[in-house]
């Protein structure tokens, strides 16, 4: 069977994917904004550091006024920075100013390009020292240069760590990790929500699936959401049209039966009269042959019409029907017939469950066919046992030759006949089988009949 795609699965998948894409897009935009803010913040830190370090450096240089401005030894481990990630590692800077050694370093130089003050981790030389105030990149690191016009001193503050990048990545990770963790939960939530939203469709689908030729009851309209109301309405209209068409088909089949039976009855009766009037005339044998052919034609037409009615799905009943009166009526027909009277023995068990959802005509056809088969193909003049119950079971047993299992297996096929010389249409058991299939029952054929050494038994399990 071809695998069919699921709307719920597709919806859940696409909704999850869509949500993820929007989440990623939102995170990307946030990252961009955040990066810009971080850049500004770190740049401002650089600038503020330059503004504050230069006066300190100038004073330090001024305290050595006897020597005048000149090159000083590198200042060891100056730490500064407003927002150290590891505040415990702070140490004293110029004037006791606390700086973070990992983030900034600096150079103080004069207009001639002579480096006057240098932090320990600052480069000893630079190919070109900036003269103008502003941001720039030095050896791939962000830096800020500031020149004090009064002292002719300039300072270059450079970042020495990847704190800027690390902060950005930390922020990005903070945005994306929850997404990764929440994706399964999100998908589960979407799946459950979609399933809940699609439940009315499932109910409608199951309701429609219950409809068949035997059940064309209106769909359950209550509790259906507004989106499904047009479907329910249209399906109800379709079922109405289908019901009308099937009713017409059933009526046509029943009417055909009526229209066909009357001329056959006329022909048969006239032939019988002709045979009676001819008496011992040589032509009487031919008339007998015609009569036999007419009977066969009548039987065949009857069975074909039964099949035709079955194809219109008439066997199942919406209401429970008491089948006992029907069984008695069928048995009465056979008892009153001079050719079969006295050959039927009906036994109804007190525990028989004969109130079933079966069309009484279909049940009468099924029992009638089984009894007719038993009378026709069973041992001549033997009694046919019709037993109802216990339970929803009706069994017809007859004495006669045992039917081989391979023949038994195909007896319910249309136009299939057992090892019998009696005339038959080969449709009787097929009709019974079709009736029980339509009503949810089962036909079981056995030979020899249960409890006997010979014969044949057809058991109808009605449910």
């Amino acid at each position: 069977m071809k695998h069919r795609s699921s709307i719920a699965l597709r919806l859940a998948l696409w909704l999850s994917l869509g949500t993820c894409v929007f989440w990623v897009a939102a995170a990307a935009i946030s990252t961009t904004v955040l990066r810009s803010e971080l850049e500004q913040s770190f740049d401002e830190s650089l600038r503020q550091s330059a503004f504050r370090l230069l006066p300190l450096a100038r004073r330090e240089l001024g305290q050595d006024s006897g020597q005048g401005p000149g090159r000083r030894e590198p200042i060891p481990r100056m730490e500064f920075g407003p927002r150290s990630r590891d505040f415990n590692r702070r140490g004293p800077g110029p004037g006791g100013f606390a700086v973070d050694q990992e983030q900034f370093t600096y150079l103080v130089y004069d207009t001639s390009g002579t480096i006057l003050v240098r932090a320990e981790d600052a480069p000893e030389t630079l190919s070109e020292l900036p003269r103008e105030e502003g941001y720039l990149f030095v050896r791939g690191q962000r830096a800020f240069a500031f020149a004090d016009r009064r002292s002719d001193l300039s300072i270059l503050v450079m970042e020495t760590s990847d704190a800027r990048t690390r902060a950005l990545w930390d922020a990005v990770a903070g945005l994306f990790w929850p997404l990764a963790a929440l994706i399964p939960l999100l998908a589960l939530g979407i799946w459950l929500a979609v399933r809940a939203a699609l439940r009315p469709i499932e109910r409608l689908s199951q309701d429609i699936a219950l409809r068949n030729s035997a059940n064309l009851a209106p769909l359950v309209d209550q509790g259906q959401p507004a989106e499904l109301a047009p479907i329910v309405r249209e399906v109800a209209a379709l079922l109405d049209r289908l019901r009308a068409a099937m009713e017409a088909e059933r009526a046509f089949a029943a009417s055909s039966a009526h229209e066909l039976r009357t001329p056959i009855a006329g022909a048969l009766a006239q032939t019988q009269r002709l045979g009676a009037e001819l008496g011992a005339h040589p032509s009487a044998a031919r008339v007998k042959g015609i009569e036999q052919s007419l009977r066969s034609l009548s039987d065949l037409a009857e069975k074909l019409l039964q099949l035709s009615r079955l194809e219109a799905g008439f066997a199942r009943s919406d209401q429970c029907v008491d089948l006992l009166p029907v069984l008695n009526l069928v048995e009465r027909d056979f008892q009153l017939s001079p050719s079969t009277g006295g050959r039927i023995k009906l036994v109804v068990d007190p525990a028989a469950e004969l109130v079933q959802k079966i069309n009484p005509d279909a049940f009468a056809i099924a029992v009638g066919n089984l009894i007719r088969n038993a009378l026709l193909h069973g041992a001549a003049d033997s009694v046919v046992c019709v037993e109802a119950g216990p339970g929803a079971v009706v069994q017809v047993r007859n004495h006669g030759a045992v039917v081989a299992p391979e023949i038994l297996a195909r007896l319910r096929e249309r136009f299939s006949r057992g090892p019998t010389r009696a005339n038959g249409t080969g449709l009787g058991l097929a009709v019974v089988d079709a009736i029980l299939s339509q009503t949810g029952g089962q036909l079981v054929l056995r030979s020899p009949a249960p409890g006997w050494n010979d014969g044949f038994a057809a058991t109808m399990h009605l449910t």
Binding site: A257, I264, L268, Q270, Q272, P325, L336, S337, P360, D361
Partner: protein
Amino acid sequence: MRILLIEDDHVLGAAIRDHVVADGHSVDWMQRLDDAQSSLQTVVYQLILLDLNLPDGRGLDLLRRLRSAGNVVPVIITTAQDQIAIRIEGLNAGADDYLVKPFDLSEMSARLAAVARRSAGIAAPQIVLGQVNVNLATKSVSVAGKGVAITSREWAVLERLLNRPGGLVTKSEIEDSLYAFGAEIESNAVEVYVSRLRKKLGHDLISTVRGMGYKIDR
């Protein structure tokens, strides 16, 4: 018996009529309900063969009218409809039996005789009248164990008398059993058939009620 056959199909109706006549009964064949209604107002029938679907209405309506008027004449429905509901409806409406078309004429004869017997209150088809043994089912008669051949007309007279055991059957009632509408009634036909029956079955079997009719004492 005088039987009313109500059947609109010409071919079938003619065959049934001929067969019932051959059985020794008289038959009035009507093809419409209104004609049948008129016949019922003028003739007392011993049995009606009633088709359900007729050009001017349903046979069941006629049956209901009959029963509501207190008419208990036995009715056998002949129908091409095999629906259980219609059969039950027919029986509930007062039908004594029904035959689904197509049916064997011999079966129809048997059903007809069985219904007539039941209607006359005769449970068993076997009637023993002294030395005379009559089987209503097989239409056979024997006297002191020896079979006696009787004609269909003679049988019709005998059956008519047997259907009212110990009761008077008027000459006109017997004539009704022998002749249908339009048939020319021979003035002394009843006397002739009664005489023949006495000759074959014994002179004491049928008593004459002077000026009124005949009866069989049981």
